[in-house]
């Protein structure tokens, strides 16, 4: 594969007309917006910010970054970018595994999908070609069965199947794409956009390719420098030694619980107490762990494969028990049964849903049920069998599931109680309570895709895992910190490297690798400028789509109801103060990017 020609082979697929054309992305776009997330947002803007998310006119963009599929560590990622049916903002989500790498090895840098097919189709990609094929045999099937179907048809070797499940087909607003059975474009409902287009899957067949057109010595050197950082025993990424590698992301459960930052019972509480241990990474590692899968070119292997050995889900073999779903479907729903959590994650993997949004939908409904605000049977806290049945009903939009398939924000609104939806810009919050980790709360409020922990992972500083270390309960200084993290991550999401690279690497390592891959100078300052440009491009899109002043908010529960648990006791989120600081360092007028900032950053 040729690294330096990244962006030359973008496949444009018009599902309505049945046309496919491969042409380059404009050079200027690649220069300014890099790839993956940044380039994808630039494409999505072409459909206009007023486009209806589930209309044929919306663009569904699958975009690699300039490093995707290369030999550099953690480079197995690609982005799905579109207008979100959940939030109405532009959204992007990233998958690990091998699908993005295989797309690159098959000779494509991205796929821009428009229109709507008359009947279900899938895209088949091989040897630089892309074809529309009939998917009627797998429409209605779960993702596991869909993957097995294509593996039977094309063989398992070198094959990636990226598919939607029943939730995408029924236009559940938080439907997710999954490749290789369990790696998700999880957030923002991108699979509902696939469903609205009658697009069931993208099937890619390609063997490993090496980078040909780089300075081999320089390439080896910069990759080695990054790898040394990842392997350093001081870093949590250190293979088989660091916490992320040994326990996976769920190594977090006990620490956020300990400091009063683990939302519990729909964030009415900030700690799950002694019960957190039963859904923690330590518990999983001791009791049900059977494997540590990885992604393309990653020595960290943070994925955690488990087998349930007893109870109703005995024999379930799945990956991966991550922190986010273990929180969303566990503590957040007052559930300490890890087997049921694994079962529901596997349901999400098969039905094609975002487990963070699902967990928040269930917990919101549990609170509404407890308060007598629902008309149906409702849901009781921690009733795992009912949660599992409801998960299925949501994906198929049956009974009360039809309401919850709209996502917790819309569903709570329909119940007449929007205040019990823990969401920002319509997307539900992840597993860091803003009362115990102040910077994370600011990150949720100012995220361009709705509440998200991965736009600004300041928890790395608030939990003391990187050189910059800050008090999680201090609000001052968080405005600048959040901006820096947002810009840095916007760049790594555009390269596209795994977010966890930021636990070991920084702007210097990103710049060095990008410079050699592109064959042109690129500095750490250039990294931060490109990241800032991409972040502002997204904000510009959202401003045009109707998100104006006052749109960066948190649920009142976080700003008005003080925590009652140890660690964060007595604390609320000082969002207004943090926003003042943040807008000042961003150079924005409230939540809006002013004209002079757009000009300065060459947007669009």
């Amino acid at each position: 594969m040729d690294l330096q020609s990244f962006g030359q082979s973008m496949a444009h697929v018009d599902l309505g007309a049945g046309d496919v054309e491969i042409r380059p992305a404009p050079d200027e776009w690649v220069r300014k917006f890099i790839g993956a997330r940044g380039l994808g947002v630039r494409y999505v803007l072409e459909a206009g910010p007023d486009v209806e998310a589930l209309s044929p006119e919306n663009l569904l963009c699958f975009v690699n970054g300039p490093l995707t599929g290369s030999e550099t560590s953690m480079s197995g990622r690609w982005a799905c970018v579109t207008k979100s049916p959940l939030t109405g903002t532009v959204t992007d989500s990233h998958q690990g595994g091998w699908a993005g790498a295989r797309l690159r090895w098959a000779g494509l840098d991205g796929i821009i999908v428009s229109g709507r097919a008359d009947s279900p189709v899938y895209l088949f990609v091989e040897d630089g070609k892309i074809e529309l094929r009939d998917a009627s045999e797998v429409w209605g099937k779960g993702i596991h069965e869909t993957v097995a179907f294509f593996q039977k048809r094309y063989g398992k070797k070198n094959l990636s199947v990226n598919a939607i499940g029943p939730a995408g087909e029924t236009l559940c607003r938080f439907a997710a794409w999954l490749n290789e059975d369990d790696r998700a474009f999880g957030r923002g409902g991108t699979a509902a956009v696939g469903g609205s287009k009658n697009l069931k899957a993208i099937v890619i067949r390609a063997g490993t390719q090496k980078s040909r057109d780089v300075d081999a010595d320089a390439w080896k050197k910069v990759r080695r420098q990054a790898l040394d950082r990842i392997r350093d025993e001081k870093n949590i990424t250190s293979p088989k030694k660091g916490g992320l590698s040994v326990y996976g992301t769920n190594v977090l459960m006990n620490v956020t619980n300990s400091i009063g930052a683990l939302g519990t019972r729909n964030s009415q509480l900030t700690s799950f107490g002694e019960r957190a241990e039963a859904i923690s990474g330590e518990y999983v590692e001791q009791n049900i762990l059977v494997g540590d899968p990885t992604c393309h070119a990653c020595p960290v292997a943070c994925k955690k494969e488990v087998e349930i050995k007893q109870g109703p889900w005995k024999g379930l073999h799945m990956e991966s028990v991550e922190y986010e779903p273990a929180w969303a479907l566990g503590a957040n729903c007052d559930n300490d049964d890890i087997a049921s959590v694994a079962k529901m994650i596997d349901q999400c993997n098969d039905l094609g849903m975002d487990p963070i949004e699902l967990g928040n939908a269930l917990s919101m409904y549990m609170e509404a049920s407890e308060k007598g605000w629902v008309e149906g049977n409702g849901l009781a806290w921690g009733d795992t069998l009912a949660m599992i049945a409801m998960t299925d009903a949501i994906a198929r939009r049956e009974g009360e599931g039809d309401l919850l398939a709209e996502g917790p924000a819309r569903a709570a609104e329909q119940l007449g109680h929007p205040e019990i939806a823990m969401a920002c810009k319509g997307q539900a919050v992840p597993a860091y309570d803003p009362r115990g980790l102040k910077g994370m709360g600011l990150g949720y409020a100012t995220s361009n895709r709705g509440a998200c922990h991965l736009r600004a992972y300041v928890a790395a500083a608030e939990l003391g895992v990187i050189d910059v270390e800050v008090d999680p309960l201090e609000w001052q200084g968080k405005g600048e910190l959040v901006k820096v993290f947002q810009d840095l991550h916007a760049f790594s999401d555009s390269l596209d490297l795994c977010k966890f690279s930021a636990f070991a690497e920084g702007a210097d390592e990103y710049a060095a690798q990008y410079a050699v891959a592109r064959g042109e100078p690129f500095t750490a300052d250039d990294v931060m400028l490109a990241g800032e440009r991409i972040y502002n491009l997204e904000r510009y899109y959202n401003n045009l789509a109707g998100f104006g002043e006052g749109s960066d908010t948190l649920p009142a529960r976080f700003t008005r109801e003080a925590s009652t648990q140890a660690g964060s006791k007595g604390h609320v989120s000082e969002l207004d103060q943090m926003l003042g600081e943040y807008y000042s360092v961003r150079g924005w007028k409230d939540a809006v990017v002013p004209e002079d900032k757009l000009r300065q950053l060459e947007i669009p």
Partner: protein, 92 residues
């Protein structure tokens, strides 16, 4: 005092919870040294080259990292205190 170990520290200690008998009013730094003495394999993870608490360990008292308490490593511990001890921990 009761000390709970997490993640890779728990593996090294061999159990989650250990009762350590330090004099009432001992500092958090003294606790770090006691852990280093009891489990030498952990010594360079809990105590730094200057004898202070290493940056590679987090002692939580009442849910607060002692690093952010007014007296930091000199924070006095009571015999009845429960301390959670974590290695650097994050994910996503």
């Amino acid at each position: 005092m009761r000390v709970n170990f997490y993640a890779t520290l728990r593996t090294a200690v061999g159990q989650k919870t250990v009762e350590l008998s330090l004099p009432d009013g001992s500092s958090a730094q003294a606790l770090a040294h006691e852990i280093a003495r009891r489990w030498p394999a952990l010594a360079d993870r809990v105590v730094d080259a200057e004898g202070g608490i290493s940056r590679r360990v987090h002692f939580m008292l009442g849910g607060r990292n002692i690093r952010w308490l007014p007296e930091g490593a000199a924070t006095k511990l009571a015999a009845t205190d429960v301390i959670d001890v974590f290695p650097p921990t994050a994910g996503g």
